[in-house]
Symmetry: none
Subunit: 225 residues, 2 copies
DNA sequence: CTTTTTTGTGAAAACTCTGTGAAAATGTGG
DNA sequence: CCACATTTTCACAGAGTTTTCACAAAAAAG
């Protein structure tokens, strides 16, 4: 397996070196940035950074601003390093899309453990399971079972069903479905959703009825008792 | 808007605190329980708990037993926290009525996102629900119930009723109704409104009388005591 | 009380949207 | 480059919705 790249951003060179050493031992490739601007530039230049470790307090552009800038275009996992006193910020910044916080001083062992945990999750090994009305969706395994019987779904079908279940009870316009299940830059025919719904319904047997048509509007997933 | 109560059950105080902090920031009220028995007692004592987050591994009474006990009497949404080691097979077979499984370690961000998703659909966000005189309009679900009984409305009927309810007590000219419920580029006969009103009234049963005719002018929605 | 105007109503017509099967395009792995 | 699976497009039939229309009923006006 190739090395995963981790971007470490801190204005103190000593801190960067400390983190870098531990991560390097664990087989990661570490890229350093000394301030926020450099971090953002590097991130978008590199393309394949798997995770960012980010100090909050930095000159020029602080950690929060970096998060905002990067979150405009990327969902890369971000770990924030905060001083113990900044506990309140921790929760505020959580809104911005930070994945974890580690407060200084921290043990390198914990840092490495968190990094590994996050990468494990984001690489899809997390086993989150949705379950409703006998339909089980294992997102990690990309597997659906109905009343315990596995069914075969294509990638799009799986994504679509997951979206339905995650938003059960809500009326979903085709527009909305396209924006969430397809990439936002998809400009094809919205009727392709209909075709996928057809296949889903047929593969789901009688539980296909849980996908309701809302005439003139879209679809809704709802389990009827 | 009032706070929704969430019951967090875990034997580790540290884990409870973590979850509690993040949920509190998002405006939820968190109640804690340290073991299964306490959880069940608290749940039935409190009455208005909107969601339960439940660890599987606990002393005395484990997560599964808690689910069983609670499912006897309640359909409250339940999120289960499972350790990675607990194999999927274990979860795969039986369906006790858990809504979602999240495996540890999880990112608080994901947990909160799932909590919000579940509550959004199960209680309907306040702003999305109009309720007056036994008529309940759930805009998000595109669903109307009268005295708790769902009724089937077409797209236009739904839009029209929503417009009436949002402007209850006001006399609405046909002109005005057309401009708001129909597209502004509609140039058909205003009498089509009459037809829709007729259908609405009949589908609404005796509550159809809430839609009053204002002779020579238009209509008005008003709940009479 | 009659006329005029406006609304209620049922049915038909016009229209729109969805389901569906098949074909075309796209992607994937050998 | 070829087979294979998946995704998207297309066209048409059928289902459901919206609009129109004609006439009856109700309300205001004279």
């Amino acid at each position: 397996m190739e090395q995963l790249k981790i971007l470490v951003v801190d204005d103190e060179a000593r801190m960067r070196k400390l983190v870098k050493d531990f991560l390097t031992v664990k087989g990661f490739r570490v890229i350093e940035a000394g301030d926020g601007e450099e971090a953002v530039d590097l991130f978008f230049a590199q393309k394949d950074i798997a995770l960012i470790i980010l100090d909050v307090m930095m000159p020029k552009m602080d950690g929060w601003e970096v998060v905002k800038a990067i979150r405009q275009h990327s969902k890369v996992p971000i770990i924030m390093l905060t001083a113990r006193s900044e506990e309140r910020d921790e929760l505020q910044g959580f809104d911005l899309g930070v994945d974890e916080y580690i407060s200084k001083p921290f043990s390198p062992k914990i840092l490495v453990a968190r990094v590994e945990a996050i990468l494990r999750r984001s690489s899809g090994t997390a086993s989150d399971i949705l379950s409703v009305g006998g339909i089980r969706i294992d997102k990690a395994a990309h597997q659906v079972t109905i009343d315990g019987v596995p069914i075969e779904l294509s990638y799009k079908e799986f994504e679509l069903l997951t979206y339905f279940v995650e938003n059960q009870g809500l009326a979903l316009s085709r527009e909305k479905i396209l924006n969430n299940v397809w990439n936002y830059d998809y400009f094809g025919d919205a009727r392709t959703i209909d075709t996928h719904v057809k296949k889903l319904r047929s593969k789901m047997g009688e539980k296909g009825d849980y996908i309701k048509t809302i005439w003139g509007m879209g679809y809704k997933f709802e389990v009827t008792a």
